[in-house]
Amino acid sequence: MPERPLSPHLSVYKLKYTLATSILNRLAGLILSLGFFLFAYWLVALAAGARAYAQARELLSLGLFKLVYAVLIAAFVYHLAAGVRHLIWDTGRGLDRLSAQRSAWIVAVVSVLVSLILIYGLLRSGAYAR
C-alpha cells in the first residue's frame, strides 16, 4: 500500500477539551466492547446451569473484578452521555463553541456524578460483591 495521509495525528495537537472528550469517548467505547464479551460470558454461564454459574460467579467476584466493574460503569455512563451529545450534534444543534463547551461540562459533571453513585452502590451492596 502506498504512503497516504493518515489521521488522527494525536501527537501534533495540544490537549484541549474537544480532544479529551473525543478520545475518552473512543476509549470508553473500546472498554465497553471488552465488557460486551464479559457480558456474553456471563449469559452463557447462566444458561449452563446452577453449578456452572456458581463457578463463573466465583471468578467474577474476585477483588480484581470490582475494579473491572467500576471501570465498566464509568465507561458506560460516559459513553452514554457523550453519545447523546453526539446525537444532538448530528441534528445540527449545539455545534457553536459556547454550546460545545457547555455540553462538554454537562457530560463531564453528569458522568462523574452518576458513575460515582453507581460505583458506590456496587461496592456497598453485598449482591454484587459476592
Binding site: 502506498p2 489521521s7 457480558f39 452463557v44 444458561a47 458506560f76 453519545g83 449482591a127
Partner: protein, 128 residues
Amino acid sequence: MSLRAPLAGVLGRGSAKAGVHHWWLQRLTSVALVPLAIGFVVSLLVLPALDYATLIGWMRQGGTALGLVLFVLVAARHSHLGVRVVIDDYVHSAGLRTLAVVISDFSHLIAAAAAVYAVLKVALGGRL
C-alpha cells in the same frame, strides 16, 4: 466519463462508497442502545439479588428475553462498527489491520450468537 485511472481503483484508493452505510448504522444502533442499555442496567439494579434463582426468574419473565436479545444484537453490531473504526485509524500495517478486522468480525459474531443462544435457552426453560 470517469477521470480516475483504473489502476487507482484497483489499488483501493478513494471512497468505497460504503461509508454512509457504516456511519448511519452507527447512529441507528446508538439511538436504539439508549433505551436498551438504560433498561438493562435499571432492571439489574431493581433485582433484589444477583443469585442464580433470581436471575433465571427474571429472564423468564415476559419481555426480558426479548429485551436482552435486542440489547445483545444491537450492542454487538455497535461494538463491531466502533472497533472497526478504531482498527482502521490506529493499525497502519495492512496485514495486521486485516488480521485485527477478521478477529473482531469473528469474535463479535461468536459472542453475539452465544449470548442470544444463552438467553433463549434460559427463557425456554432449558429446552434448547
